[in-house]
């Protein structure tokens, strides 16, 4: 959790939010916000696919976090990476927002090239095959893959973020990769 640079770690910032005077606590919270706002936005966008709604989710997530600190809250102890705590909060607000705006989380049959952020295809056929294989995985398994290989969370952190047993995380991860490995259109990627 500690930073390699001389800037304060998330632990130190959370500690300041818990106990420091008003000015220092405000500065610490702003630093936490600046450090993690893009991550929260990305998580929100995975569910709402709308920048304006994602911005609302960002605001709700950090307002929720703020309320955990005194004087309204009892304080907050950081025992894992900050993203592990932010993920479920952002996800829940995003799902609520998606329902409210009738922008449901992406379904498995959506053509992924229509989504924002997709890079130019290296090989059209291969990219399409890859997108279809990812879509066929289902939301739960794809979420595990995303947390592990995009957000770089450990298995323990994923279990904490999703509030599910570690064994379930391992099982979903294994089945997700197995499904991709057995997909005839993309299995060659595993041999490269």
């Amino acid at each position: 959790m500690a930073d390699s640079s001389d800037r304060p770690s998330d632990d130190e910032l959370v500690e300041a939010c818990n106990h420091a005077d008003a000015d220092a606590a405000t500065r610490a919270f702003e630093a936490l916000y600046r450090r993690h706002r893009n991550y929260v936005l990305r998580v929100a966008m995975r569910y709402v696919r709308d920048a304006e709604i994602a911005a609302d989710v960002l605001q709700q997530t950090f307002t929720y976090l703020l309320e955990l600190f005194p004087p309204t809250g009892k304080g907050f102890q950081l025992t894992a990476r900050m993203t592990t705590y932010l993920y479920p909060v952002a996800k829940n607000f995003a799902i609520s927002a998606a329902r409210k705006h009738r922008r449901f989380p992406i379904s498995d049959d959506v053509v992924l090239d229509d989504l924002p952020g997709a890079p130019p295809a290296r090989s059209e056929v291969e990219s399409d095959d890859l997108d279809r294989a990812l879509a066929r995985l289902g939301a739960d398994r794809r979420e595990i893959l995303t947390l592990r290989f995009v957000d770089d969370l450990s298995l323990e952190e994923i279990a904490q973020a999703l509030e599910i047993p570690l064994g379930t995380v391992k099982s979903r991860l294994h089945l997700a990769i197995k499904a991709l490995r057995e997909d005839p259109k993309i299995k060659d990627l595993f041999d490269q």
Partner: protein, 147 residues
Amino acid sequence: MNEADQENDLPRRIAERLAARENAVTVVTPHVDAVIKRSAAEHFAGRASPARVAAEPRRIRRAVPRRWAVGAAAAAVLITLLVIRPAGELGRAPVLTDDFDGSGRVDILDAFAMARTRAADPAQIDQADIDALAARIVSVQAGTRTL
């Protein structure tokens, strides 16, 4: 990497495609930044700051006589009626979310103000936010829309 790890590893090509799909690029608006900053300041305002604690005994020692306090209160009410009330009407004007310099209008000076703030403290503002604001201003001005 042992065999079990290899079994649970993902080829880079698939991981990149997954990241492209799940990491949609978006930009935090200065408005959200300002809301969070204000909320944090309000939330923590109840806590004692060293400066405020140090100042407290002096305020007690310099207790104002009651007669002067009544006069000051009356003056405050008068000022509120004469000065602050008209200003309150301005406060009901629509909030310009990109009005970084608080001038009441959104123009390229807001982007310059953001850039100056970033030059003084790069941690305060992302360059992407400045670029996004500048792009919005240019596109609005190109459309000859007046804010």
